[in-house]
């Protein structure tokens, strides 16, 4: 009889830090100790605390082990699983208290979280449909097909106030209603899993940790709008997600939860996967559908909207993975339950992928209306190295920078738009005082220049010109006029581009210009990078009163730019210096400064 479950994270983060070796070691040790009948090892999806991976949770105690190494496994098996003694040194440090072990939900990282879309991630085995069913899976589909009319399904979703989690925030129920209202011999339901924002990985984690929720939700939508075929468009760079989703689809077919006459209702629905080849623009709905059709992934003008003329010219709805992950619970728990979370115009929760200069890198899900400060400083555990929180970028290359001064803004769709950013898919990149805002804007522009599909001129040429202007500023060759020109160009591109990629590409520049204009001006007028990032504007100097003449810097300089005699202050030859910073790193006396 199984009395203990060992859950090991099999998300991409923990897999890359070696969780598969942990699982292999566990299985071997369990066998060695003859515990195969008592202990079950389960590979789950993401727990969220990726910074501390590989993660392992042992039930029934609920012990949360972090940064587990294969050599720790014999101890965990013989101490914890065999003798019942929790291995305290491997527990997540925050859960260890003097008198007792805190449960996970009491820790800073999890305390403020509300897991709806991620409910099953890190809880179930994503490759076993029966586990999903055990956690109430497919009962929303059962309810919809046996008790509800299609229009009632749409009403519940509309009433819940759910908005698209992919970025735009369009009301999901309205999208479905439009598609349902159009008569056609064939309609389609699509899932956008082409998550391309640098730093965002919530869709990947949901597909890896709970693939059946997407299948169930899409089938529900198929019933609601009258579609019998669905497509999941997922990027090929997500191999674990692709394979788990394929396993899930196969199992759903085997159990008759996809296919003909589901639950004896006469309703047919099937799903197929389409792989994207890594183009950012294919996350845009019309480009995505063009790509599914087998053409080059380029957007087309709207209207007609996909709900009227979408995939293969038929009425189509397209929702993002995270949006889908909310649907079954809304059906089961009702619109009022969902509405009870969030702000007036943004209901429910939102998943954010925390990255950048933050301690708890990982995935968090919080109710809408949580402030940026709560996410960064409480859940995220603050900035490493005691540095100061400067700004956060939401929405990746389409979003904007939110300065520390606005960190108390409750995060929802409308507030973020009002302060010049956007929700986007939910990537949240944290920056500290060592980040140059001009450099960050340049980084995102470089990304958009690369990813512009080239169909329309404002985006293709405009972003390139913007990038050139930003480079000029970073090199200290720009004039104040260039800043104004850059700003004008931003508005032109926003107004003239065909799709959201171009329309939102200037956001990183506009928001940094708005909140950190002084940094742009410092680059242009004083030829100085306040954060000390832009190499062309930096000079390294040795402070003569602090230099002991130890010669360490001179010995480490790759270009021989430092000279001086022992026990005398050294000097840097600026014509030879390549600004690599090696001398500064090596100096024991803080005698080298960059300006």
């Amino acid at each position: 009889m199984v009395r203990s479950h060992v859950l090991v994270c099999g998300g991409t983060g923990c897999t890359s830090s070696g969780s598969h070796q942990i699982i292999a070691a566990l299985e071997q040790e369990i066998k060695k100790n003859g515990l195969e009948q008592e202990v079950k090892v389960i590979r789950t999806g993401c727990f969220g605390l990726c910074a501390l991976g590989p993660i392992m949770v042992i039930y029934p105690e609920g012990s949360f082990y972090s940064m587990v190494k294969p050599e720790d496994i014999p101890e965990i098996v013989s101490e914890h699983l065999l003798k019942g003694r929790i291995v305290k040194r491997l527990l997540y440090s925050e859960t260890v208290q003097e008198d007792r072990v805190k449960s996970l939900n009491e820790t800073q990282f999890y305390k403020k979280q509300e897991r709806v879309a991620l409910a099953n991630c890190g809880v179930i085995d994503p490759e076993n449909i029966e586990e999903y069913i055990g956690y109430n899976g497919y009962s929303a589909l059962g309810k919809v097909l046996t008790e509800m009319k299609p229009s009632e399904v749409i009403d519940v979703i509309t009433e819940s106030g759910l908005r698209g989690r992919g970025g735009g925030g369009f009301p999901t129920g309205r999208k479905w209603a439009f598609a349902a209202a159009n008569d056609a011999d064939q309609k389609y339901v699509c899932c956008n899993a082409d998550e391309g924002d640098p730093g965002a990985f919530m869709d990947r984690s949901i597909l890896e940790g709970d693939p059946h929720v997407v299948i169930e939700a899409m089938t529900i939508a198929g019933y609601a709008i009258g579609a019998s075929q669905g497509y999941v468009y997922i990027r090929a760079e997500y191999p674990i997600a692709v394979s788990r989703l394929q396993i899930a689809i196969d199992q759903a077919r085997e159990y008759g939860l996809l296919g003909k006459d589901i639950f004896g209702s006469g309703f047919d629905f099937d799903l197929e996967i389409r792989l994207g080849a890594g183009a950012f623009v294919c996350g845009e709905e019309t480009a995505l559908m063009t790509s599914i059709e087998g053409h080059r992934g380029e957007p087309r003008p709207r209207p007609p909207f996909p709900a009227v003329k979408g995939l293969f010219g038929k009425p189509t709805i397209l929702n993002n993975v995270e949006t889908w992950a909310n649907i079954p619970q809304i059906i089961l728990k009702g619109a009022d339950w969902f509405k009870s979370m969030g702000t007036e115009k943004s209901k429910g929760t939102k998943v954010f992928a925390l990255g950048g200069k933050i301690n708890n890198t990982g995935l968090v899900e919080v109710p809408m209306g949580t402030t940026l400060r709560e996410i960064v400083e409480e859940i995220g555990g603050g900035i490493p190295g005691g540095k100061k929180f400067k700004a956060a970028q939401t929405g990746g290359p389409s979003g904007g920078c939110i300065p520390e001064s606005l960190a108390d803004t409750p995060i929802d769709y409308d507030n973020l738009l009002a302060i010049g950013s956007m929700m986007g898919s939910g990537g949240l990149i944290v920056m500290d005082e060592d980040t140059c805002m001009v450099d960050i804007a340049k980084f995102f522009l470089e990304f958009t220049v690369d990813e512009s599909c080239g169909k329309c001129t404002p985006c293709r040429v405009g972003t390139k010109r913007m990038y050139e202007m930003l480079s000029k500023i970073c090199k200290g060759n720009a004039s104040l006029e260039d800043i104004d020109k850059l700003e004008d160009l931003c508005y032109e591109i926003k107004a003239g581009s065909l799709c959201a990629l171009g329309q939102s590409a200037p956001n990183p520049v506009l928001s940094t210009l708005k909140y950190f204009r002084d940094e742009y001006i410092a680059h242009v007028v004083e030829k100085r990078c306040p954060a000390g990032v832009c190499k062309d504007l930096l000079t390294f100097e040795i402070l003569p009163d602090k230099c002991k003449g130890c010669t360490l810097c001179a010995r480490n300089c790759p270009t021989g730019a430092i000279s001086g005699t022992a026990k005398q202050p050294h000097i840097i030859d600026k014509t030879k210096c390549i600004k690599c910073g090696a001398c500064m790193e090596k100096c024991h006396f803080h005698a080298i400064v960059k300006k």
Partner: protein, 123 residues
Amino acid sequence: MKSLAELQAIRDKMKNSINVRDDGEDKIRVVVGMATCGIAAGARPVLASFSEEVAKRGLGNVSVAQTGCIGICQYEPVVEVFTPDGKKTTYVKMTAEKAVRVVNDHLVNGNPVTEFTIGSVAK
């Protein structure tokens, strides 16, 4: 899948599995002493018997776990039952058969089996 009943059947089958992964506060915790002394005295069959009986009866509010030595090695196998009201009952010199009775009398019906407790045995 042709009916909701089929879905329910799978859900029932998975109930025990899910129960193991729920570390809620309102559960009865059965803790079996599994240090060297406990294992030597036969704690393993006791643990297995508890797990099996709890699963067989589908007791969703009971979790079975193990612990180390609590220091009364002469009374092993020792089993402690913690109820949500904060009470602790300590059973000593347990066997697989006694475990079945504890599940039935104490965990299901709420009557601790006094004759197996440390208070009676130690007299």
